[in-house]
């Protein structure tokens, strides 16, 4: 039932597809005003980018929030911006999925592997990365699992550390895999136009 609802939301949304740069780009506009944009690799069908945007309570358009893919460099925020931002030497957190697993990469973590502990917190539906030297801590959820309301399983979780990068993987459960394949089929049916302005294709 709950699985259905996310699919329904997807089906009800207004979708626009576009093939550009070897990527299939899809833009979803949901009924509640939220927007989602996805980019898939044309050859491998791998998800490269998924980002969200919504309007704030006061009506201002917010920045794109990246769920999957490289974090956006802010639009024109120059180096000498007036406020505060993280130093470039800080760890960079990003998600980059493979076909069979959700995967997160945290770069700039020059500590040995023993320092890290990664575990699932089922009550809060999130994964926690901790460091014994108290340098890095991150609590994050898997939005895909939340959308389908699937429970988190600690046996699916694993992590490695190479080249100053911590890679955390969570194997996709069967349900997700089948649903993603279905979605792929649907998306391929969407007529992807070339460049330029395109008519919005609604299902």
């Amino acid at each position: 039932m709950a699985e259905q609802s996310w699919i329904d939301i997807l089906k009800l949304s207004k979708k626009t597809a576009l093939i550009h740069d070897g990527k299939r780009k899809i833009h979803y506009l949901f009924t509640d005003g939220k927007e989602m944009a996805e980019e898939y690799d044309l050859n491998t069908d791998e998800l490269i980018v998924r980002k969200w945007r919504h309007k704030s309570t006061l009506g201002a358009q917010s920045q794109w929030q990246v769920e999957v893919g490289e974090p956006l460099a802010g639009p024109v925020t120059s180096l000498d911006s007036d406020v505060i931002k993280e130093n470039c030497a800080n760890p960079v957190f990003m998600r980059k999925d493979t076909k069979i697993a959700f995967q997160w990469r945290i770069r700039n973590l020059p500590y040995p592997k023993e320092v890290f502990s990664v575990f699932v917190e089922p009550s809060e539906r999130c994964i926690i990365i901790k460091t014994s030297n108290k340098k890095y801590y991150k609590k994050f959820s898997i939005p895909d699992m939340d959308r389908y309301q699937l429970p988190l399983d600690s046996s699916a979780l694993s992590f490695t550390h190479t080249n100053n990068t911590l890679i955390v993987s969570y194997k996709k459960p069967k349900d997700i895999l089948t649903l993603e394949q279905e979605l792929q089929k649907e998306l391929k049916k969407l007529k992807g136009t070339g460049e330029g302005d395109i008519n919005c294709k609604t299902q």
Partner: protein, 466 residues
Amino acid sequence: MATTKVPEVRDITRIERIGAHSHIRGLGLDDALEPRQVSQGMVGQLASRRAAGVILEMIKDGHIAGRAVLIAGQPGTGKTAIAMGIAQSLGPDTPFTALAGSEIFSLEMSKTEALSQAFRKAIGVRIKEETEIIEGEVVEIQIDRPATGTGAKVGKLTLKTTEMETIYDLGNKMIDSLSKEKVQAGDVITIDKATGKITKLGRSFTRARDYDAMGAQTQFVQCPEGELQKRKEVVHTVSLHEIDVINSRTQGFLALFSGDTGEIKSEVREQINAKVCEWREEGKAEIIPGVLFIDEVHMLDMECFSFLNRALESDLSPVLIMATNRGITRIRGTNYQSPHGIPIDLLDRLLIIATSPYTEKETRQILKIRLCGFYFRCEEEDVELSEEAHTVLTRIGMETSLRYAIQLISTAGLVCRKRKGTEVQVEDIKRVYSLFLDEARSSQYMKEYQDSFLFNETQMAQMDTS
């Protein structure tokens, strides 16, 4: 050898200049709204302060919209001071917008647009919004000033929680506000990521044993847990005008090309009014009618007055306070005479508070307050005013004007310091009194010597024809 001049780096907190009304901290009323003779920088004007107190209560209740008050009185009788007192007593959460009557005449927007913007700036909406904040204990602040003294400062801030540590790059504005808040290592702070607002929560418990001189009011707090960046729901007050601006901006990359000028479409305003009413009914937001203060209101013209008439009837209307020093005079934009230069139909809607000239005793007290204020701010505590000089100054204040006497305080202080005196004497006052003319003496001078001034004849001719 070229020597580069290093400009003196001054502490920002100290640059507080003395304005005409910077000594006013409130209306100086007790709990029963009875005015105290001298309190919170206010002196005398008991009846009008009491009246203002009643208005203040009305504003604080917030149930009444669209009331208007006129403060009328001779020049230099504390009209603006009363309005400032109201603003101060309302506190920072109630919007208070002040403008002078001539400010609305601009080529960029119409008079009524300027007035409606001012009206909407004076209405606050308290609403919950989710914002991203950074909360942590300061490990280290490092600020590098360029050796030449000019150019951008660069700064780094290291924050930690019990679990993690992050280094942030600081922009210029951030560096300024950090030094303004006197943030130092060991403080627990929150930073609103969008606006850059810094709030000091207290000092970390781990620093409680530091050998350090601390005020009695220093609070100790735990070092925050978990991640540094959090999303938090905060309640804040925005004005209707700010919501208008957010929603009327061109979206997308076009926003780069359209400057933020001027007029807001009435459709946008209507949409927002509807939205705000909806929020209020759902309990999401609360409307806080604030105060719009228009000084020198006789500068408005007939169109503005009829606009005010209509605007006051709207249910989203702030309390309007106006001040004027005119008697019966011409209404701008017409040939009619009217009291205070305001049409009778608008006057009829107003509650009028009158201010009266200060007595000698009150003048004396105001001069004393201003004097303390002046020397305190200038950190010249050893300079004082002798009793006789004070009396002379009071007499000058009574005979010329209060403003002139206040001007003399600072100039006499300077003269006294130049002769290395510690107390301002009557001679100092006499000296500056002879150096600077007051309005009456200046007019007198004009009358005596007008023949020798430029353009004298043409002006006289004009006066004859009119």
